[in-house]
């Protein structure tokens, strides 16, 4: 019998996390994307739109619908509420960097940035002049994109925003301000490629717009028959998915036909567009699986639907108890599979006030970073190499050279002592 490497074959590669506005059954639930089985759920309160995220693969963060709170659950402890962090106001959107170092939240028209390992509120950005609806990070966490009620989409470089904290006279400015939307921005999706990625924004003005961060150019505008409330793309950015107010989800092939700067999508027009019909009310959240074959949509009709992207078939419907607020697909976190895993990420309670003084009331330095030092690699190898410096077993030989020298020296001393004794002491006695 040939040994097979052990994998947890039952474990799903990706899981779906959803939440609804009622919070009756649970606050949020983790589903197996393939079977539709519920894997675990987290209770207490209800989570607001676009404000559910996973921190460092260990914690689930969700901002409350009604209160100025961020709820935190350790992923493996299901039922229990872990931590409540109080914010300056109700959080409209919440996101974290992929490595879990920084957390960004939209509170009314302000954007708050916390450093996770200290809990310090580093900076509050006030540039939007109406409420911010959505915040998303680029996949490398170097920039984040915010879209608001004021029809603006802004791209913020994290580095220059955070550098400003040492110099209060400089006001952090966004890298790009895109103002082509004529009505509030409802959703933003950031593609792949770090700072060089493309951004899709959706708006109540019935359009989705595709932007390029590097040049700041508007690449394409897609006009839909109704207001667009949610938008996403597949990983290879071949298709744009838009959830409309009518309950239809449109899948637009970006390269299906000659590329035009502006495209009009109509319900009757089948060319290059697939329309997924099934929801009865507006579709507010969308996400695509890793392999680009499944689309998940959440709607105000209290259901989450999983679609096969290519055929347009609805594969499964997951019933909810209220407006669906979040659908997120993530690679299965280890803590979901193995409840024995303990969270190692040091998470501090987020502070409500901007970090200013170095020493806080208790005399502790508030800037000290709480970190885990990951186990060092290469140590094992190091000492396997130098177990024996001389492996020829010549240790006796080697020392015998030295001891011969020593012996010689001792013999000389001995002889001197002898002659001294003979000459002086013995002779004296004789005399």
């Amino acid at each position: 019998m040939i040994g097979v490497p052990k994998f947890n074959m039952a474990a799903p590669i990706e899981v779906l996390i959803t939440s609804d506005v009622s919070g009756q059954l649970w606050n949020s639930c983790i589903w197996d994307l393939n079977s539709g089985a519920s894997l675990s759920c987290y209770k207490g309160d209800a989570t607001n739109h676009r404000s559910l995220c996973i921190l460092g693969g260990q914690y689930l963060l969700g901002a409350s619908c009604t209160k100025p709170l961020i709820n935190v659950w350790a992923l493996q402890r299901r039922e229990q509420h872990q931590l409540k962090m109080i914010c300056a106001g109700k959080v409209n959107s919440l996101t974290v960097t992929h490595d879990g170092t920084y957390c960004v939240a939209a509170v009314a028209e302000n954007i708050h940035i916390w450093q996770v390992c200290t809990g310090n509120l580093l900076v509050v950005l006030t540039r939007h002049y109406q409420a911010v609806n959505v915040i998303r990070f680029t996949d490398n966490g170097s920039h984040f994109v915010s879209g608001g009620e004021d029809n603006l989409v802004m791209v913020w470089p994290l580095a220059s925003v955070l550098t400003c904290i040492h110099n209060p006279s400089v006001k952090p400015e966004p890298l790009r301000i895109w103002s082509s939307h004529s009505l509030p921005v409802t959703d933003v999706h950031v593609g792949r490629g770090g700072a060089q990625s493309r951004v899709v924004s959706s708006s109540l003005d019935q359009t989705c717009k595709i932007w390029d961060i590097v040049s700041g150019d508007l690449l394409q505008t897609i006009l839909f028959p109704g207001s667009v409330l949610s938008v996403t793309m597949d990983a290879a950015e071949l298709r744009v998915f838009a959830g409309s107010s009518s309950g239809h989800v449109y899948c637009v092939h970006l390269y299906g036909q000659p590329i035009k700067f502006e495209r009009h999508v109509e319900d009757q027009d089948p060319e290059g567009v697939i329309c997924y019909k099934g929801h009865s009310k507006q579709v507010t959240c969308l996400c695509v699986s890793m392999d680009g074959s499944k689309l998940v949509s959440g709607s105000h009709d209290s259901s989450v639907k999983i679609w096969d992207i290519f055929s347009g078939q609805c594969i499964r419907t997951l019933p909810h108890k209220g407006h669906v607020t979040n659908t997120v697909i993530v690679p299965t976190p280890q803590a979901v599979l193995d409840p024995a895993v303990k969270p190692t990420l040091p998470l501090q309670s987020f502070k409500r006030h901007l970090v200013s003084e170095r020493r806080d009331d208790t005399g502790a330095d508030s800037r000290v970073l709480s970190l885990r030092i990951p186990s060092s690699l290469g140590r094992e190898q190091k000492f396997e190499e130098n177990l024996f410096d001389n492996q020829d077993g010549s240790v006796e030989m080697g020392t015998s050279e030295a001891s011969k020298e020593e012996l010689k020296r001792l013999k000389v001393i001995n002889r001197e002592l002898y002659t001294f004794a003979v000459d002086n002491i013995l002779n004296k006695q004789v005399t």
Partner: protein, 682 residues
Amino acid sequence: MAAPMESMIEKLLNNSFQKYAVQRSGDLQLQSFVKVIETNKLLLKRDDEGSNDIVGYIHQCLNNSKQRYEGLILLGVLVKQSSTAIFQKNAVTWLKLLLNILQSHCPPPVHQACCKLLSQVIDHSDSFSDVSREVTSTFIPQLLPLLLTCEPGCLSAALTCVSMCIRKYPGPVGPFKAKLQTLVEQKLANGKNYEELYECFALLASCGSGGNLGIKHTEAWSELAEGVLASLHETLSCMYSDVDMGSGSSCTGKPLAGLPPIDFSHNDRVVALFKRWCSLTKCMQALLREDFNAVARVPADDILNIIFHCLSVNTNMLMSRPTSERSLLASFSQDVHIHALYLLQQLITLCGRNLIPQGVMIVSVLTQELSWSHSEGDGHDQHYGCLREVVFETLTVWIKALDACSSVKSGETTLVKEIIHDCLPYTYTLKMTSGLSTGSKTDKMTSGQGSRKGHKGKGYHEISQGISTQRKSQPLANHSLVKAALEALYWMLTTSGWEFSQKSLQSVQEFVIRSLLALHQAPLGSLPAPYADPSCRRGLYRVLSACVTSTHANVPPPVQVALGLFSAGLRDKHADVSSYCMEAMRLCEVLIHHRVPCLKGPVVCENLIQISGQNDQEPIVSHVINKSGNQAHISLETKNGYSDASSEFTRNEEAIAGRTAGNITYNGGFSEREIRKEKGKE
């Protein structure tokens, strides 16, 4: 398949063991016997009976004072290859035997080997509950006093063993923590300098029980870190007492107790301070590196302040008003900085993106280092080559840890300038006077109109005429510096190339294209220094591929030129370089044969990179900036036999005309529109 293999190996083992141990025929000496076992893995997967003989023999050797070393070597092989069953059965026996050897009087090499072997056995022992119980209850209390009092000759091996004990059994080591700390600090104070010492120092924090959530360990770690920080402060303020501008940051912590301050009466004061600085920075590095099972509270700001303080005093500053002490300090200054930078690297590795707020500061300190250590190359190793190399390494670590958040944009101009300065291939035309250089230009203009091939490389040859060609050359001068600089440049372009200024990016493109062309044209066997080193050439190609892949709003990627250069690079003599070019060719191929149509076309080319083959002289890369119909020709002044990015712009109406006279034109992007426009003009 498996059965014959097993029986064959068994036969091999029996045969060689018989020859070696039983018959003692002399056919097989110890060394060869070990070699045979190691290469053929003869003891691997042996069950209990299969290796009974050899286990017995090893025990016998270990018990016999004359054969101990032999026994240790054999046991080393056995521990490495033994199966679970054999290990579980014999581990306690081995530990006892090894302990006996430690207790007895033996030459240092035997003790050393014994310590190393002990740490291996301890490393594996914690997987077996019965063995680990034995180790915890009786073994460690006996072992540690021995290790702590061992002779100086085998201290490093003993400390390795102590470290392993702390890693695997932190609890039982607890009672010895104070003694261990005194020992380590005493050795540090005596200027002892080996890795095991630092490792052991860092692991002190993990000794004893951790308390709830490892809170005691966290506190111990903080205490150690504070102690080292305070000692670093003390050392630094002592070292810079003569030059300090009163900027010395304060520190509230208590210095490490075991390290007496080095005052003015100390002999060799500067040297002692330098050594202290080295060992303290290494202690701090070890603290930031060694795995720690609780949360560490890292005073990143304080560590950064120390590093900045250290780097704020440099050789130039010291030598501007030299005293005897300052001169002495200045001669150590480079190494002091290097150790500070190593500490910075470790801090960056640990804290990563948590350092984003300090990003601009860190980048500016690194550029500052490059600025003051700037020196003109003369084909030999640079004065501050080592320091600059470490600066580039640190920059690379920084960029890799922070990706696009690295703020290198803030120091981009200086960084690009310094990197290009360091990496330019050295040619002997450097010392030419301006008169000569104009001469060479006219040379260029008038020299032959023959075939390209015949004249390859002639430019250099002719230019260097009239200067003595007898030189002591160093074909690999600065190669590690150049390698580090190119690596830093590669990462800068890859992560932040898109936000570079147009001028910087163009100067990088120019530099890399010109350098590669020069390498292709140089006569075989006399590549300009330091590009005789294949890793430098490979670095240059890597930079080119980063130029090709980075997107920029205004600067087109040099795809056309790159394809030519990479295919020429396929003929490189060194496999590393040519294989990299293959890789890069694949990349370029994907760029020119798009898999999907493009939403956004390539950057419309307002800048043509023109490579003029005119007169078959040295290649000239020029940018024709074509705005509102004006052709501006950037003429490239010869310096280092090369162009300088800051060369003057001379309006040259003949730039286009020259091209019609049979020159090769590469346009940087794909703009057909541009070409059409120009054709219309012509």
